[in-house]
Symmetry: C2
Subunit: 385 residues, 2 copies
Amino acid sequence: MPRLAHRTELAVPFHAVELFKEANTLIAQGKDIISLGIGEPDFTAPPTVVEALQRAAAAGQAQYTPPSGTDELKAALCDYYRDHFNASVQPEQILVTAGASGALNLAALALVNPGDEVLMPDPSYPANQNFILAAGGIPRLIPSTAENRFQLTAADIEQHWTEKTRGVLIASPSNPTGATIDPKDLAELIQAVKARDGFIIMDEIYLGLYYEDKPQSALCLDPSLIVINSFSKYFHMTGWRLGWLIVPTEIRPAIEKIAASLAICAPALAQHAALACFEPEAMAIYEQRRLAFKARRDFLLPAFAAMGIQVPVTPDGAFYIYADISQHSQDSDDFSHRLLHEAHVAAVPGLDFGPAYAKKMLRFSYSTSLERLEEAVERMRRFLA
Amino acid sequence: MPRLAHRTELAVPFHAVELFKEANTLIAQGKDIISLGIGEPDFTAPPTVVEALQRAAAAGQAQYTPPSGTDELKAALCDYYRDHFNASVQPEQILVTAGASGALNLAALALVNPGDEVLMPDPSYPANQNFILAAGGIPRLIPSTAENRFQLTAADIEQHWTEKTRGVLIASPSNPTGATIDPKDLAELIQAVKARDGFIIMDEIYLGLYYEDKPQSALCLDPSLIVINSFSKYFHMTGWRLGWLIVPTEIRPAIEKIAASLAICAPALAQHAALACFEPEAMAIYEQRRLAFKARRDFLLPAFAAMGIQVPVTPDGAFYIYADISQHSQDSDDFSHRLLHEAHVAAVPGLDFGPAYAKKMLRFSYSTSLERLEEAVERMRRFLA
Ligand SMILES: Cc1ncc(COP(=O)(O)O)c(C=O)c1O
Ligand SMILES: Cc1ncc(COP(=O)(O)O)c(C=O)c1O
């Protein structure tokens, strides 16, 4: 049997896998489980995007593309930033990737040397630690606070930056909190990191899913950031595996060389089809769906409050509610198992997002219909009564 | 500007990129360039596979799949090994990936610790060095010989294995040579590596494209090998980004954990559509096309011989001819530029596959129609006259 590399042990697992297995067993037994666990939109690609894919496939547009993506898609992404996020992005800054995952992987490989430390807030998207570990780096989870919207701050940088620290990895809106970073705080954070000659990887995968003021891309504050995005969430194309990385033009060739070797290119048919995402018809559908997500959030927040489930930071994006269940249990892991088995509602315990709030918090995902959310709340109400 | 990690400098570039740029400039000037450079079939997916994709897209089968791939695809792959390569593979051994690239990346991450050396023959597929480097390992190119079909041998293992060596990465048929490893030599190689407690990564991406006796998978010799394959070449689905990794069942969970974090899953629609690849209609088309490749090879080999271009090992697979042009030039790089500019034929100079044969050899790819190959030979004949 081949011996495995150390990183296979270091890599953090997704603890909720066990919970999902139990949920599937219950479903197989005929139980009606409402999953608020999964981080995936319940919407799929609009018809015009599906048709674009079908046309591209019929035309055999399925060769390898250039490693950084097709010119057409890079141009469309530049227009998207200009038209929607008020940011100026050049095609020469873009690398099209297999999802935000591909982009995060590439960013870590490009920026992190073995032994380098990268700071990220606790809580964070669990895979973030593994991207850094895969590059030989050391992820440092910095406990964040509700006051700071569960984001890193300039003060955190001052306190936790060491000789070995090379940069930060943040997300706005964040998973699991759905909370954006305040632009003023972000500006200070950027300044603090740059003063130390560090890098900032900003994951904007949920940027399009906003429920308050329309956000700007962090690129508006600083065009030298490393920015991650994807067609998975706002464009509802999770399994298509299409995302992108934006980097300063000067460093793109070096990153492209790695991308060309390690991935050759992102899925070609998806790249061709994704052009249809930016057409008015598809955009209108995304906006409707964004409002549907907002309606779900607006239903859940008061319902949770009424059940004594606190939401320390009102989420203004993504499709997550990061909720404090300590009024009902001192162990969110145990709570989530009971919630599953007794109320048939699945949610992800805090542990997956870092140790700081492992016991207190649960992540509820509202990527399921309002009707099902109403039913879920009804079940939770009975369970907690 | 963020500082880049060292591996961005270590990563070997694809030198032929410059040549391809020149070729594109000539094409833009209206010149008719025949490319024998690119490692990509000129065929695309058969109609039934395209239709399966279109149906899957219309049905919205585009969610994330399990990280190791859909059960249906894993089952189909097991049947494929049983029916075509006489090998017994269990679904629990398979990880479906974004191309062989995704599989090679994952295999390297799973097996290579920083500082570990991995042996591979010179010449090899250029990206192989970068997969090892990305995992922090050190690729060691071992000059191979025509007598040994440009493959690693047990004697190489004895000679080059050091304290730091952890395993080998080989391909059969190989890129750039199109040559398989002799089963007896492979058995000895495996024994030599296993005696040293090393791993064997066997890239079988070209296994289906054989032109002599039907080969077996290396898994028939040893079911504990790490085997790579892809839908890119035999199934003509390069831009779809779909491949797979076969590992011993015992180590799959650890690798799956990494795959789940770093990639989430392979493209979903492609996974659903790929099931149609194994239906008789599609298989009949692949076989026809395999014979078309064979006819091209059988045309080129005597034509090259007649021009004084030696082919030290007759390729029995893939779609490459690794040819010795030293009768015409002492510098294959210069030769390839003159061939492009004077004969309008593009081929990849040896340097991309390793230093050992950098000056002597060129790789010609016959992934273009017989008519165009005839024209290419005519041009080369005139050029060499
Ligand atoms: C914050 C964040 N970043 C990145 C990803 C990866 O998404 P994808 O690779 O599908 O684009 C996810 C997925 O859940 C996420 O929540
Ligand atoms: C030997 C070899 N392995 C792996 C690959 C990667 O192919 P893909 O990622 O498209 O499956 C190639 C592509 O040319 C190759 O020649």
